[in-house]
Symmetry: C2
Subunit: 339 residues, 2 copies
DNA sequence: GTAGGGTAATTAAGCGCTTAACGGAATTAA
DNA sequence: TTAATTCCGTTAAGCGCTTAATTACCCTAC
């Protein structure tokens, strides 16, 4: 078989009908008799016909693709399993359907905006996924201006934007209560960059829960998700006055990095220091001691976001979908607070 | 500004010329005078015009996109930094140009083939990247049949297919020589699945070099890149008769997993057991002891592959490009062989 | 003065598909 | 018998862009 892409008019010719009839038949719309439809469809797949996405887009205005742009430095993105899991979930929900995923990795916010704008201008996507929302995120304004269907992966901070989220606040509380039950009182949260909405949400939840539990020495410090920054911050925190007995991180990479620092400082985990990671991953399981971590349904979130986005593209109202709750998976990095 | 995508006929109207003239002007082709061209271009970007990719594709037959499908189980793909680094590299080479990346993650080879075939049928991509080639890979046959431009990321095993590769054989030798210099003689290579061409290449290089160095007890065992399989295999190897003193892995995840197993068996690394990972990553740096690893220019490979693919799409002949050589990065997981 | 040659534009066809509008034949109603 | 209704199918316009063919015009040359 040689490579020649058949078009509907090839089919029409073979079936002795007009291209219009072929189109109706192939799209399961009324206008052709059942026998004709069958005949056309038989011919179509004997010929190995596949609709040209360009032609279809041009005539019906739909791109049959959704876009995701991830704006994180290459350095960070490589390590964090988060995105690949997310992408897996996205693909799962896309599989079988006619939609494809357009992916872009950028290293600054302007490039990210430009990517969305270009996709829209080129009519390349029917909608986009938004991750890592920041305060007053310009993307919100952009998609609204462009009337570009969008789904946020994150807390419902923008009232009329559809989103898919998990109850992180609850998880933060759970972690704190768990640590307190183990006797910890000096607990530090090593958060991601302040700019992210999810960082703020968790930090707020942390502070609130700490206050409720009477943890006057609990506090939040910031790093940038990278192992280097986490190591630096952790070292500083642990070598300062009245060091904490437990650290709660905002991702897995930072927690693993901190494990190294603890080791380096001769602090035994979990005897002298407890560590909790956020976003469970193989990384957490693989290191020794294995890290206690908050597991969130990342792939599930990706899949849910895609389904929601498809609905929104189809004209459904902007829902705010909550996925299953995160859960704390205790492993060997957390233990009784030292006396 | 409200969302309304301008077309060339909007521009034509505004400039008082025909759409043909606009097209010539915008594409920098002869047929319009310099002043007219300027005027048209000014209007175009005042209007924020962006070419419709569908329309362009339809008329010139080019999709302005390249495709990558990754066929690895979600479980594996999440952990391995490899793909994200690759994607970063790909994006780097794509940035600025008009091409986008279409990504698909599948979990079986049939689905992968189907994805390529569909993209081709839909005229969605101008070319594709092929990773993880296996022996007699059906994709090779497919892209040839479809005349779909393709670049292989891997060794030049298919004569007329362009590819981008690194000299892994050399790196394998280097690792072996390094270990031998440290006094190791019982060395086991924990390889990925046999089906992959790169696995075979490295295993062959390993066996050859071992023979040359007189290592009669060197051997190769197989796992599937996952941490579970690696743990199982490592445990078996280490608890068998005359266990090896050094293990060389085919990725980073397996090496980290083995570190855990060693720990569990009470084997001190590197005093009693040396470990070498393949594909350096933050993972290797982060664990304790930090893993000695073979670092390969992954992002560079991705970028080179894209450049090559763009050339091939443009009609260039099928080159075989070799990127910079891998290098062994010694860290704390390798040491003198035990007496 | 007219043929020849550029240059700067327009025209129109075509890429592959969708879909509103139309038409002819068979069926039903009156 | 004729008119109204259905059903099945065709026609043709249009989506936004590219490009070969064509026209219109101005210059130079003989």
């Amino acid at each position: 078989m040689v490579a020649k892409r058949p078009t509907i008019s090839d089919i029409a010719k073979a079936a002795g009908v007009s291209t219009g009839a072929v189109s109706y038949a192939l799209n399961n719309r009324p206008g052709v008799s059942e026998p004709t439809r069958r005949r056309i469809m038989d011919i179509a797949d004997r010929l190995g016909w596949v609709p040209s996405s360009a032609a279809r887009s041009l005539s019906d205005g739909r791109a049959n693709a959704i876009g995701l742009v991830v704006d994180r430095p290459a350095r960070v993105i490589g390590v964090e399993p988060y995105f690949m899991q997310l992408i897996s979930g996205i693909q799962g929900a896309l599989a079988g359907g006619p939609m494809s995923l357009l992916l872009q990795v950028t290293d600054n916010s302007a490039a990210e905006l430009a990517a969305y704008r270009r996709w829209w201008g080129e009519r390349r996507v029917d909608g986009v996924l938004l991750v890592d929302l920041v305060q007053n995120d310009p993307r919100v304004e952009l998609v609204r201006e462009l009337r570009l269907p969008a789904v946020v992966l994150g807390e419902p901070v923008v009232p009329d934007l559809p989103c898919v989220w998990t109850d992180d606040e609850m998880a933060v509380e759970e972690v704190l209560e768990y640590l307190v039950a183990l006797g910890h009182r000096r607990i530090v949260r090593v958060a991601g960059p302040t700019k992210f909405v999810h960082t703020q949400t968790r930090s707020r939840a942390f502070t609130t829960a700490a206050a409720r539990l009477g943890l006057t020495e609990a506090r939040v410090v910031h790093a940038d998700y990278s192992d280097e920054a986490a190591a630096r911050v952790t070292r500083r925190v642990l070598t300062g006055g009245t060091p904490p007995t437990a650290l709660v991180f905002d991702n897995d990479v930072m927690a693993v990095s901190a494990l190294g620092v603890a080791h380096e400082l001769g602090l035994s985990v979990p005897d002298q220091l407890s560590l909790v990671a956020w976003d469970d991953s193989a990384l957490c399981r693989l290191v020794r001691p294995a890290l206690s971590a908050v597991r969130r349904p990342i792939a599930e979130r990706g899949a849910a976001a895609v389904r929601l986005l498809l609905d929104v593209i189809g004209g459904a109202p902007a829902e705010q979908v909550k996925t299953s709750d995160p859960e704390l998976v205790p492993r060997s990095s957390t233990g009784q607070a030292p006396a």
